[in-house]
């Protein structure tokens, strides 16, 4: 294909600003799919993606577009994940493109996520075409949206495209703009092969399928390729493009995007951002920007039914085939039995994994409070990394603790600033900058400890801003902080699954809230049960669950013994579903309470 007729582009948009709808319209207009073949939002093919309206995996779709200049162009739309947890993947998708459509909802304005990705695109040297969507809605304010784009992103928005992806209004012009304004790719087919991996997933029949953008050289069928990060070599069995139906091709030239199949067994071998080259005639250097993905959020995963432990192990192994960015290792808890310590890219990633395990593998899970990985310097001179409260060293052995810190960008309306400042202060944030972007719109830059984000920050931010605040962040380094381990004891026994690492200053309050919550959730037992929160040997809060005083069926009406037995059976069954710690039955909800105490303190 003549390289001047190729365009590679991405769509940058906030959740619900219409990215997927626009993508569907583009596919429809270019005849890639007939109306009949359209399933709502074709590109988000996972159930979860459709339900949540987010894109988790990146895709590349090739469309052929006969432009008004009489030539037919090959347009490769590289769809990108839309969540902060996946910002590295986004950066690699963007690196595969020469341009991007920046889609902004005419009634909502620019959101933090969009802004972060737009900056990322600018940083990657992409040509950005602003698109103002949903102009058909009553709340649409085009001048204000243009102003926001200009102020926040720093782009000239006077020639922004005005469209309604829903009705199709102006979508044709989007295709023209892609052709006219986004540059054609560079790169020479005769150079040594240099292709960027921007996604990969496992297919049970074909093995790993790798999405690539060829930057230099040519990728051919039967070629022996090498992955530069690990030196592994494979033979290319098949090459193809998605239209979005998969179509096999013989080669992908510099400038083109597609997928390759090479009998790769393990998705972890095909790391996003890695460079594919020719084994015999390799390129001089790998493409820039490659990073090993590191999990940021950690939690314990357990099955409610301890007999399902091996099922969980198998399910995790299968999921990891498709998602090398999360990791797991066995751990055991006195309270919950055998389970797994898992690391995730972020909270959404954790929720997705949990939901897939429950849905696709039919498992009932208990997830312990998510936490982060601390660097603990011990008095013996050693430094250890701890992401599991049960491995927290004794207080006397700790010299200092360093916690991961993020740079956060929050975009919101002026009126919610008060509540947001208060929240950020409570979460130990440090302001770096604060500026107006357009009238009444504010952009905040803060440094925040990551552990304050993972528990309940999103929900709190949403609630103080009534949903009108958006957040983006990236890891920025470490702070030395006085972190302590907070234990919860039930009837004198420490329940390891409820332990938390918290800042010393908030330990009392958390201990108090958590024990109060436990009191609500632990049903009355045959004896009085003490619930205590402790830091080391020091009790910081105490609650008491009174003993059962009355549980009696007064009447055996008409000799109905079955009803009575059913009642007793149900009562017994209820107890079986609880976890027994010492002599106390604790319901599952109690283990989730750790996640929820923030919400309550907010009320």
């Amino acid at each position: 294909m003549d390289q001047s007729l190729i365009r590679n582009f991405a769509i940058i948009a906030h959740i619900d600003h219409g990215k997927s709808t626009l993508a569907d319209r583009l596919l429809e207009l270019t005849g890639s799919l007939t109306q009949r073949e359209m399933q709502a939002q074709v590109l988000d093919s996972m159930d979860l993606e459709r339900e949540r309206g987010i894109t988790i995996k990146a895709h590349a779709v090739r469309m052929m577009y006969p432009a008004k200049d009489g030539k037919t162009y090959q347009l490769n739309l590289i769809d990108t994940p839309g969540h902060v947890d996946f910002s590295y993947e986004v950066s690699r998708s963007l690196a595969s493109c020469e341009g991007a459509l920046l889609v902004v909802d005419a009634s909502q304005g620019v959101e933090a996520q969009t802004l972060a990705n737009a900056y990322l695109a600018i940083h990657n040297g992409l040509e950005i075409v602003p698109v103002i969507n949903k102009i058909d809605l009553p709340g649409a304010d085009i001048p204000k949206t243009q102003e926001a784009i200009e102020n926040a992103v720093g782009l000239d928005a006077t020639d922004a495209l005005l469209i309604s992806a829903k009705t199709g209004l102006g979508v044709e012009e989007v295709l023209e703009a892609v052709v006219q304004r986004i540059p054609a790719p560079k790169g020479k087919p005769e150079h040594p092969l240099q292709a960027l991996i921007f996604d990969s997933w496992f297919d049970p029949y074909k093995g790993v399928i790798v999405s690539v953008r060829v930057m230099e050289g040519t990728l051919r069928r039967n070629q022996k390729i090498r992955l530069m990060s690990n030196g592994k070599t494979y033979n290319v069995d098949a090459l193809g493009v998605s239209t979005p139906k998969p179509v096999e091709v013989e080669q992908l030239d510099a400038g083109e995007a597609g997928f390759l199949v090479a009998n790769i067994k393990n998705v972890a071998d095909t790391k996003i951002g890695d460079t594919v080259t020719d084994d015999e005639r390799p390129c001089n250097h790998a493409l820039p920007g490659f990073e090993e993905l590191k999990p940021m959020v950690f939690a314990g995963l357990y099955t409610v039914d301890s007999h399902e432990h091996t099922l969980l192990r198998d399910a995790l192994a299968k999921l990891r085939l498709n998602d090398s960015s999360f990791f797991f290792e066995p751990e055991s808890s006195v309270a919950l039995g055998f389970g797994f310590r898992c690391g995730f890219l972020g909270l959404l990633h954790m929720e997705i994994i949990q939901e897939r395990l429950e849905r696709e593998y039919n498992l009932d899970l208990i997830v312990t409070a998510p936490g982060v990985r601390y660097k603990v310097s011990k008095t013996d001179g050693s430094v250890i990394e701890v992401d599991n409260p049960s491995r927290w060293p004794e207080t006397t052995d700790i010299l200092k603790v360093e916690e991961p810190v993020i740079d956060a960008t929050i975009l919101t309306a002026e009126e919610y600033m008060g509540g947001i400042f208060k929240l950020l202060e409570e979460k130990r944030g440090r302001q770096k900058s604060f500026e107006y972007v357009g009238s009444a719109r504010v952009m905040l830059h803060y440094e925040l400890p990551l552990c304050e984000i993972v528990l309940d920050f999103y929900d709190r931010l949403k609630s103080v801003s009534r949903g009108y605040a958006s957040l983006d962040y990236h890891l920025a380094g470490y702070w030395t902080s006085p972190m302590v381990k907070l234990d919860i004891m039930v009837a004198g026994e420490s329940v390891d699954a409820l332990s938390l690492i918290v800042h010393k200053d908030s330990a009392y309050e958390r201990g108090r809230l958590l024990s109060a919550k436990m009191k609500e959730l632990i049903p009355r037992q045959m004896f009085e049960v003490a619930i205590q929160a402790a830091i080391g040997a020091k009790i910081v809060a105490r609650e008491t669950v009174g003993a059962i005083r009355k549980n009696v069926i007064a009447k055996c009406y008409g000799g109905d013994i079955s009803r009575k037995r059913k009642l007793l059976d149900k009562q017994k069954e209820g107890k079986k579903r609880m976890k027994r710690i010492g002599s106390v039955e604790i319901p599952q909800e109690a283990f989730l309470a750790v996640l929820k105490i923030g919400e309550d303190s907010n009320k």
Binding site: M526, I548, R549, K550, N551, V552, I553, A554, K555, C556, Y557, G558, G559, D560, I561, S562, K564, R565, L567, L568, D569, Q571, K572, K575
Partner: protein, 390 residues
């Protein structure tokens, strides 16, 4: 072994707010068909028992008409029911024949019909002697009506009378409860039942209490601690008055224990007829069969193969469990030695361990080679019973 016969009559003049039974207000036009169906079931009882591999002794020594309010039926319907029952079963001359009755439903004709049919025991759903409390839950009688009915029964020769009280009714206070209990003792009846209000999904009042609402005076329902106090006061007062507790909710002067209800707790055979009626009959091989009839009026009036009775064969292990969770309701408790002779040491092993644990926790007590609930165990008896279940 002689059978106890239970007939449920699900009709009431009004539905009380605390009621969680399959009873209600139905059109009188359905009464006749109900009686007809019940009579047919008496006639059909033997073949029904055979179908389910159960044994039914046609000798009957207790009869119980419960409800609902059996006395809402017409006098001739009541007579007809007893006549058909006597055709199908040999009712012993000394049989205990009880009819449940709401005070105020006992007009002369009904009373005459009951006496003529051989009824010798009446159970009154008084619930409270404080008129305001009775009215708040939808009872239609007053204290005066109850006392008058008791007098009329005695005049007609029926002296074996039970009065029901409910502890935990809306508006009840320590003083008003004391008053109701005193009034019960004052009447001199030989049998009293004291039920603690059941707050569950099956009654309107229960649902309202659980939802924290104010309908049915739900916000005036005493809390658990008060209800427990009421119950304990009743136990103490009745025992002191010579009306001794013999079951969690039942009290009687010596020799006046309900022989019919004792069959439920000691697992003697009984036949249940009518809506939501339950039978337990002996089966070949020594085990028991439990049979539950449809729990809707239409299901009983117009039986279809689509709504067959629920038949449960009680296994030997379940029979042993039942011996515990039913037998322990009685103040006489159960005899582990006796059960071991009947069920074997192996089956009794785990149960003995449960007994030992409950004794250690003060929920059961041993006396004269038997075990029984302690007063505390009685209040949390469900927790105790559950432990005897597999």
């Amino acid at each position: 072994m002689p059978t106890g016969v239970y007939l449920s009559v699900p009709f009431c003049r009004s539905k009380c707010s605390y009621c969680n039974f399959a009873s209600g207000v139905f059109s009188q036009s359905q009464f006749a068909r109900y009686v007809e169906r019940a009579c047919a079931e008496f006639a059909n009882a033997q073949s029904m028992a055979q179908t389910h591999g159960a044994q039914l002794d046609s000798g009957v020594d207790t009869v119980y008409l419960g409800g609902g309010t059996p006395t809402t039926l017409a006098p001739e319907d009541l007579c007809r029911l007893f006549a058909h029952m006597r055709q199908s079963f040999a009712i012993a001359p000394a049989a205990e024949i009880t009819v449940e009755c709401a005070p105020g439903t006992l007009d002369e004709a009904v009373l005459a019909a009951l006496v003529a049919s051989g009824v010798n025991r009446i159970s009154f759903g008084v619930q409270s002697f404080v008129d305001r409390e009775a009215a708040a839950v939808g009872r239609l009688h007053t204290r005066d009506v109850t006392l008058a009915d008791i007098a009329r029964l005695r005049a007609a020769g029926i002296t074996n009378i039970n009065l029901d009280l409910i502890a935990g009714l809306p508006h009840q206070t320590a003083e008003s409860w004391e008053f109701s209990v005193s009034e019960v003792i004052e009447t001199g009846v030989p049998h009293v039942s004291v039920y603690m209000l059941e707050v569950d999904e099956d009654s309107r009042l229960g649902r309202e209490v659980m939802a924290g609402g104010t309908r049915y005076h739900a916000h005036f329902v005493p809390d658990d601690a008060m209800t427990i106090d009421f119950y304990e006061v009743a136990c103490q007062r009745l025992n002191a008055a010579g009306i001794a507790q013999y079951e969690i909710s039942n009290f009687a002067r010596p020799g006046f224990e309900s022989r019919h209800n004792l069959k439920y707790w000691t697992r003697q055979p009984y036949l249940g007829v009518g809506v939501d009626a339950h039978s337990m009959l002996g089966a070949e091989g020594g085990e028991a069969v439990r049979i539950a009839k449809p729990d809707t009026l239409d299901g009983f009036l117009y039986p279809t193969p689509l709504m067959p009775p629920v038949v449960t064969r009680v296994s030997r292990a379940q029979a042993l469990e039942e011996r515990f969770f039913l037998g322990l309701r009685l103040n006489q408790g159960v005899s582990p030695a006796e059960l071991e002779r009947e069920f074997g040491a192996e089956a009794m092993g785990p149960q003995r361990a449960v007994v030992a644990r409950c004794v250690a926790e003060g929920l059961l007590e041993e006396f004269a080679e038997r075990v029984r609930l302690t007063p505390r165990g009685r209040l949390v008896s469900n927790e105790v019973f559950e432990r005897f279940l597999e």
